[in-house]
């Protein structure tokens, strides 16, 4: 199975979710900011191109884990992935597109992404880290839910 975690590029949620899924970050305690930054740098998230799907590794069940930095429009991405998966003959349930952004909550999301975008322009990593700090366990729940059951193609969480 292919599991793709995605979020807007200013946020770190997708790459952190992929790392939690792969056991690179603990599910039971918040890692220190230094560990989060090591993960972000390890997967070269800041240099990643929007729209490209990057392999993160294989989980213990043999599923391929990916992360995908995207823009703010989710609908087009979901339609493209669902449509092309069907054209390419992928069975339903074989590919899961997981929206890591939703773990943050709607109100927080809007403000945080704006601030993260500003931080990105200013070259600061403080705001994306703050977002992860606040929502770490929501990401853990998202990953555990994803591990527990396959999601319908293109619906995300």
């Amino acid at each position: 199975m292919h599991i793709i975690y995605h979020c807007p590029h200013p946020s770190y949620a997708a790459v952190v979710a992929a790392a939690i899924h792969l056991g690179l970050l603990p599910p039971d305690q918040k890692p220190p900011p230094r560990s989060l930054l090591e993960i972000v740098d390890h997967f070269a998230w800041n240099r990643a191109e929007r729209g490209r799907i990057y392999p993160a590794g294989l989980d213990e069940g043999g599923n391929s884990i990916y992360f995908l930095p995207r823009g703010f429009n989710l609908t087009i991405l979901q339609n493209v992935v669902a449509g092309f998966s069907a054209i390419l003959g992928v069975d339903k349930g074989e590919l899961s597109l997981v929206d890591a952004e939703l773990a943050a909550g709607r109100h927080w999301r809007r403000g945080a992404l704006f601030v993260c975008s500003l931080g990105r322009i200013a070259g600061s990593r403080f705001f994306p880290l703050l977002e992860i700090e606040r929502n770490y366990f929501a990401l853990v729940r998202l990953v555990e839910e994803q591990r527990g059951r396959g999601q319908p193609l293109g619906k995300g969480k």
């Binding site: 729209g51 799907i53 995207r70 609908t75 087009i76 979901q78 493209v80 669902a82 449509g83 998966s85």
Partner: protein, 149 residues
């Protein structure tokens, strides 16, 4: 939609289509915002190729990367899919008409304007389709040659 219709010979190759012919084409100026990014199956051509129409929205570079990545991670033969950008030969009247019709809901003036723009760029679209069909043929020949080797 129009390039797909030309490819499938639902629109003429030897003359310009009338505005009425363009407007009555399947899905012409009828895609909703929530449908952008969905590949619409339009039919099969004479060579058996499946023809789709796909709108990529404002960030087409990003979406093209996603499609290329999907093809790669699913280990699909990349030469089996040809993405052809038709916007390169679209007249600006079509963009204005599409904006009026889809964004502002002014269908009665936007749709004919979009069709007029298509008519003005029809020769370019036809040449694009012909070049695409020639490329399909070349790729098919290459694949056949590789199989023989």
């Amino acid at each position: 939609m129009i390039a797909a219709a030309i490819h499938l010979r639902k629109l003429p190759w030897d003359r310009l289509p009338t505005l009425a012919e363009l407007v009555k084409q399947e899905r012409f100026d009828r895609t909703e915002n929530r449908e952008i990014g969905t590949p619409f199956f339009m039919g099969r051509d004479g060579e058996g190729n499946e023809i789709y129409a796909l709108g990529l929205g404002p960030d087409k570079v990003m979406i093209r990367r996603t499609i290329a990545s999907l093809i790669k991670i699913l280990a699909y033969p990349p030469r089996e899919i040809l993405l052809v950008d038709t916007l390169v030969c679209i007249h600006s009247l079509t963009r204005i008409g599409g904006f009026l019709s889809r964004r502002l809901g002014l269908v009665s003036c936007g749709r004919p304007l979009a069709a007029l723009g298509i008519r003005l760029s029809y020769r370019g679209l036809l040449e694009l389709v012909q070049a695409t069909m020639a490329q399909c043929q070349r790729q098919r020949n290459d694949l056949d040659l590789n199989r023989e080797i």
